[in-house]
Subunit: 277 residues, 2 copies
């Protein structure tokens, strides 16, 4: 959201944080699928014309499925493919690491997308490069709770990060995909552990960067978007905690009163209509 | 479950693990309430005559409410009151600490139950004792994920435990309620940090110990329970992970095939009908 707002502040945004079912990372693929359908449905009924699934676990588990249901109305985009594209453009040796939640890693979605895109995008620049790419993945289930508890610059987080990253460092990956929207908050520490020669690809940045080219390919959709700079934040649970966390992630305070909407037995609390700063 | 099976292996048990919505600890009270109603309803329809809500967050947030809905049919018990009773009997100085999830601590349920039971049960045995009890609480949101990742004997967990427990140690609590069913797995480390003079009260043990006296007060209910030693394990998500975690907690392997039941749009997977060992 922060990256989209930075690049495209003119559009109206509806943000839905599914706090009641977070974290998605340890849910099964079936469960993630059901939740994503429910959430996309909520946003589609609110009139959204473009839905960005800004979560790797949800993109990995359910993007293709919801795209096949909605058939472009609304258009639905995920975060995996942009990150996979950037990693393939960035790697010199063809050794790519992926860190993510248990759900993202178990889905094998990054391997699948990287594999599909390799023939077109993999142009190794180092003569020691592999002919085919080599992918090393690592599930990092504790990083989301640690980030959510604000323990970014702490000794325990650093020790846990080292434990997760050591196998990838040993495999000498030259490009590492941060395959979870929480991980860029740990970027400094990940970079220090992996070393300067390893390029980090943030799925959040890659997805936001991919919107420009997407709009060029879909000018009619882009024109149809409303441009009042309005922001509305919805959460399925715990409005107070959502405001706290949301403000930390967004880098600006989310203001406004709480409001409750019941839909299909689920309580959605909408927090205000604007963000200051 | 382990403690109940140890004491009362003769009864039939239906276990429901709500993996799809776990961890409950950071959900709001409203959300926990809705989930508990849904789960109790599932077990009641399966014919359970006594339902034990073996989770502190769920007991704190929803026990009184579901009891008022079902009015004893089925009977529903939680884990908070037994733990509060044991803490009041155990304390010599009247300084009681409580650790739990964010949901349990924010609910104030332990303060409420301890306050209610104090006149009857608080008999301090030390002359330096306080006239009224003093309660010190601490939310420990990272402990559940750390235990679930099997990081029980690790340096990061130890550092995080110290951070959580230091304020309670400084307050010189002489009794500490482990107000979450995951925490007994960390008991050894908690005891080492708190010191030998601090008594730990496990809500799981206390709840299982309270069943005997409960049956004595309700002989008709006890007689009506079926006694084939049958166990059935249900989960709302991720049967494989449930088997792994369940076996670790139960101290015996959960065997059997996976089976899926759909009810009110929720997928319940039942894992086998028996546990070996």
């Amino acid at each position: 959201m922060r990256e989209y707002l930075k690049r495209y502040p003119q559009y109206d945004y509806l943000y839905l944080g599914d706090q009641a079912n977070a974290p998605y990372g340890s849910h099964s693929a079936e469960c993630v699928n059901e939740l994503v359908i429910k959430n996309v449905d909520f946003l589609a009924k609110k009139g959204c014309k473009l839905i960005l699934i800004a979560c790797n676990t949800a993109s990995a588990g359910a993007l293709r499925h919801v795209q096949s249901i909605y058939k472009g109305k609304p258009a639905i985009l995920g975060v995996l493919i942009p990150a996979a594209e950037e990693a393939l453009r960035s790697t010199r040796l063809g050794t790519i690491g992926v860190i993510g939640t248990r759900g993202t890693i178990l889905s094998g979605a990054y391997e699948r997308e990287l594999g599909k895109l390799t023939p077109e995008l993999y142009k190794p620049t180092d003569k020691r490069a592999h002919k085919r790419i080599q992918i090393f993945t690592q599930a990092c289930p504790l990083l989301v709770p640690l980030v959510e508890e604000g323990m970014i610059d702490s000794a325990p987080t650093n020790m846990i990060l080292k434990k997760y990253l050591m196998p990838l460092k040993a495999a000498q990956v030259d490009t590492l995909i941060l395959g979870c929207t929480h991980y860029p908050l740990l970027q400094k520490h990940i970079q220090r552990i992996m070393g300067k020669q390893c390029r980090l690809v943030s799925s959040s940045l890659a997805a936001a960067d991919a919107i420009g080219p997407y709009f060029e390919r879909h000018p009619a959709l882009e024109k149809s978007l409303s441009r009042k700079g309005k922001r509305t934040y919805f959460t399925t649970d715990n409005a107070e905690r959502f405001s706290d966390l949301g403000s930390r992630f967004l880098g600006q305070k989310i203001n406004g009163e709480k409001m409750v909407i019941i839909q299909d037995g689920i309580i959605f609390s909408a927090i205000g209509g604007s963000a200051s700063g």
